[in-house]
């Protein structure tokens, strides 16, 4: 009896064990560093997927990139600042190189910020880059948000990403406010003082909350270290995490694109990430960083040394928050003082509470909920990867502009004192006008925007049916005048006719044939009202039949010219025709 298996020789016994290895080594086309890395990380597949990812090209798609890059600039410069900033309210005597403050008692936070500005090499530049980048970051976030809103990019399947973006924009503002409050100069201390007031204005529990947040009475020594933890640790962590999810979802959903020939809801027309967008987006990072650095090198931001240290007794004229909190400050300036009252032994600070505490969740809540509201009204369950041209959804665009108008009124109210002094107006008149404008401005803006959108749609329709107006007036031999209309190319025409024009929802009968109340009727009635509000005024894009009819009409129109031409000498007529043709070509 032998232990040797005749059919499988000993050296072949483990032949199958190595199959995986062999397969792996045979299928590796990658050499060099890439291969070495892939052997260890197995990332080649993912990288290749990313590298081939196609993105459409449009400048407005880069607004989000500006936000992303300026956030990265904030993170980089912020790390630098943490090396020297001391988040402490303990009092010290300044002995640095800024003469007008020498010998003044101040907090360690303020002293270290002065140190960064005057005694650390490159410190002031980095501080200014950090602050300018923060302002640019939030500007870009809001503009990006407006782009997404007005083009309808928030529709299915991107509603969740819109909500992420909404939270990101709110966090960005809070993060900015926390940073603004850290240096403990007169302005930032005033900001914290205002925040204390806001918290205290919360009915019933306000004063408890204030004690909780400040670790005792205002100002205390706890608030600066606490804000510092929030500013460098807590909020950035959430911000970066949510931002990563935001970007991952863009990859998952694929980027939206503007309508055009060959672009559908099922494809993305553009260029691959590698090499085109690696170069473009990578280059754009350096452009953004460069522009911010240039601005920071030549324009002062937040001259904390001029403000002086914080002390609860002084205040400076022109105390405003950074721009992104301006709308809340403006709301406070517009709220009349008589709204405060007392009942049940409690003070109800309705002159402060709605503008400072309530406004923020309301504003961002409405923004976050909008996609769901619109989806409910339209009942649209389809995916949308093609963007709307803002004019083609007149009501949405008008709602957006009305909202922005409301925001801008509040925003400008925050600068009422500066408008008064620079425009030689009375601050009281400005405040009163803005109060009125807060209520009547948005409806007016809504109406005007909607009318403009509808007329632009009509103009598009005209253009499709009758061609582009060339501005060339042609006089015929019989004395008639006519403007030459150049026909559109099919590509140009497609952009103008591709959109669908939604019609208002038809109301289902409230009672069926047997006189029984329909169970869905009431809910449907509300929806139908909304739908009517959205889509009652509509300009339908021309149909192929209409287009055909218009072409025929043009040809018929052109005919009567022919007999007159015969009267003229042949040469002249021909010459004129050539000019006409030339002009049409232009």
């Amino acid at each position: 009896m032998s232990t040797v298996n005749e059919t499988r020789p000993a050296d072949a016994l483990r032949a199958g064990d190595r199959q995986a290895d062999e397969r792996a080594s045979a299928s590796k086309p990658l050499g060099g560093v890439a291969g070495w890395l892939d052997d260890r990380l197995g990332a080649a597949k993912g990288v290749s997927f990313l590298a081939k990812k196609v993105f459409p090209d449009h400048w407005s798609f880069m607004l989000g990139e500006i936000a992303m890059y300026s956030m990265i600039v904030c993170l980089l410069t912020g790390a630098f600042l943490t090396f020297w900033f001391i988040p402490s309210a303990s009092p010290v005597v300044y002995d640095g190189s800024y003469v007008p403050l020498q010998g003044v008692t101040m907090s360690d936070a303020y002293r270290s910020t002065l140190g960064i500005s005057f005694d650390i090499r490159g410190g002031l530049l980095i501080r200014q880059i950090h602050h300018w980048a923060a302002l640019v970051f939030i500007v870009a976030v809001f503009v990006h948000m407006a782009r997404v809103f007005f083009t309808g990019a928030f529709r299915k399947p991107r509603e969740i990403n819109w909500v992420f973006g909404t939270i990101l924009s709110m966090l960005a503002c809070i993060e900015g406010f926390a940073g603004y409050s850290l240096p403990d100069d007169l302005l930032s201390g005033t900001g914290i003082r205002a925040m204390n007031g806001f918290v205290q204005s919360v009915p019933v529990i306000g004063s408890y909350m204030s004690y909780f947040i400040f670790g005792g009475a205002f100002p205390g020594e706890a608030i600066i270290p606490r804000l510092y933890s929030a500013h460098v640790l807590l909020i950035p962590a959430i911000l970066v995490g949510l931002f990563t999810a935001h970007i991952l979802l863009v990859f998952l959903h694929k980027h939206t694109q503007f309508p055009g020939p060959g672009r559908t809801n099922n494809n993305v027309v553009g260029y691959p990430l590698m090499p085109v967008y690696i170069a473009k987006a990578g280059g754009f990072f350096f452009i953004v960083f460069g522009v911010i650095a240039l601005i920071s090198a030549v324009v002062t931001i937040n001259p904390i040394w001029a403000y002086g240290p914080y002390d609860p007794s002084p205040i400076t004229a022109g105390s405003q928050p950074d721009w992104y909190m301006g709308f809340a400050d403006g709301a406070l300036r517009l709220l009349p003082g008589f709204l405060e009252f007392e009942t049940f032994g409690f003070t109800w600070s309705m002159n402060i509470f709605p503008g400072s505490i309530l406004l923020l969740p309301i504003m961002w809540g409405i923004i976050g909920a909008y996609p769901f509201l619109e989806a409910w009204v339209t009942g649209d369950k389809r995916e949308h990867h093609l963007l709307d041209r803002p004019r083609n959804n007149a009501t949405r665009t008008a709602i957006g502009v009305a909202g922005i108008t409301m925001y801008v009124v509040l925003f400008f109210a925050a600068g009422n004192d500066l408008m008064a002094i620079k425009l030689h107006l009375s601050i009281n008149d400005i405040t009163q006008s803005l109060r009125v404008l807060f209520f009547i401005g948005p409806p007016i803006a809504f109406w005007i925007t909607k009318r403009i959108c509808l007329s632009l749609q009509r103009a598009d329709r005209q253009k499709v049916l009758h061609g582009r107006e060339t501005g060339t007036i042609w006089r015929y031999a019989d004395g008639r005048f006519e403007e030459i209309h150049a026909p559109l190319t099919p590509e140009e025409r497609w952009v103008l006719v591709q959109h669908e024009s939604l019609e208002p929802l038809q109301l289902t009968a409230a009672k069926d044939a047997n006189g029984v109340d329909s169970p869905v009727a009431r809910k449907e009635r509300i929806r139908a009202k909304f739908s009517n509000f959205y889509f009652r005024d509509r300009v339908a894009p021309p149909t192929p039949t209409e287009l055909e009819a218009a072409h025929h009409a043009h040809e018929a129109h052109a005919e009567p010219a022919a007999p007159h031409e015969a009267i003229e000498p042949a040469g002249v007529g021909q010459e004129r025709e050539t000019i006409k043709a030339d002009r049409q070509r232009d």
């Binding site: 090209d57 400048w59 407005s60 880069m62 607004l63 990139e65 500006i66 800024y98 003469v99 007008p100 020498q102 010998g103 003044v104 500005s117 005057f118 002031l124 200014q128 300018w132 302002l135 640019v136 500007v139 870009a140 503009v143 007169l186 302005l187 085109v276 473009k280 754009f284 452009i287 953004v288 522009v291 030549v298 324009v299 002062t300 931001i301 937040n302 001259p303 001029a306 002086g308 002390d311 007794s313 002084p314 205040i315 400076t316 004229a317 022109g318 105390s319 405003q320 950074d322 721009w323 992104y324 301006g326 004192d417 500066l418 008064a420 002094i421 009375s426 601050i427 009281n428 008149d429």
Partner: protein, 269 residues
């Protein structure tokens, strides 16, 4: 005469009549009273007071009354002191170019001698703050430790008492109903001192018991030291705080970046 009679029931007639009455009374008073005022001002040279009076009657009496006793259009100047005249006339605020919520800084209409004469005349009407001498309007220059300390103290006084209207950098600020606290940059030390001492327009008076002359000097020195500091951060955007910074971010930073994005979007792939 008929035209005048026809307008006798005009709504402004009573006001005109009152004004006329006041002017006549004031005019009559000015014939009788000034000599006494002159006599009670032994320090002022008699000819300066006389010249000041002539200038006053020619340029100021319309609003302040012929005897500087004040009218509906202008306050009494009795007891305001020479410092008030030197400030108001020396910065061109007076004579007022036209009725306004506040007298704006303007071209100075008189030379130093005339201003001194006007001041002497007004000072002769009653005791008030006099034009400060050089002792307390000399700017303390930074350099020594003691001087730096004085400047820093001036900064603290400024932030507690002045910044709420004049802004942290003295760039000015708004008050109610179109009134404003003007910018302090470029104002001479003497005029800053006089403004503190006399409280022109909406400004409160910081007399010697509120702020000692030394404290006033420190405030002035702080303002000048701040003015002379190089703008280490670059352009100041008017030192108006976050509003101008936000405007700059929206207009210039966003404008430039969108320009770059459009340019990059147009670049062939």
């Amino acid at each position: 005469m008929n035209a005048l009679a026809a307008r006798r029931r005009h709504p402004a007639a009573i006001a005109v009549l009152l004004l006329l009455g006041l002017l006549v009374t004031g005019g009559a008073y000015s014939f009788l009273a000034p000599k006494d005022a002159n006599a009670s001002a032994p320090t002022a040279a008699a000819d300066a007071v006389a010249e000041g009076k002539d200038l006053f009657i020619a340029n100021c009496a319309t609003c302040h009354g012929v005897g500087a006793q004040g009218t509906k259009s202008g306050p009494s100047l009795v007891g305001v002191g020479a410092a008030a005249v030197d400030f108001q006339v020396g910065t061109g605020r007076m004579p007022l170019a036209g009725p306004n919520v506040q007298a704006p800084q303007n071209k100075v209409k008189f030379d130093d001698e005339q201003i001194a004469a006007l001041a002497a005349f007004v000072a002769s009407l009653g005791p008030g703050p006099s034009v400060p001498d050089a002792e307390h309007t000399t700017v303390i220059k930074p350099g020594t430790e003691e001087n730096n300390k004085a400047i820093a103290e001036g900064g603290e006084i400024f932030r507690v008492n002045c910044a709420m209207c004049h802004n942290f950098a003295g760039a000015g600020g708004a008050l109610t109903r179109g009134k404003y606290a003007p910018a302090l940059e470029g104002v001479t030390p003497k005029h800053i001192y006089e403004a503190m001492a006399t409280g022109p327009q909406s400004m409160p008076v910081f007399n010697d018991s509120n702020l000692t002359p030394e404290a006033k000097q420190k405030v002035i020195s702080y303002l000048k030291a701040q003015e002379n500091e190089t703008n280490v951060g670059g352009l100041t955007l008017g030192n108006l705080g976050p509003v101008s910074e936000g405007l700059f971010a929206w207009v210039f930073a966003l404008g430039i970046l969108i320009g770059c994005a459009v340019w990059l979007g147009k670049k062939a792939a």
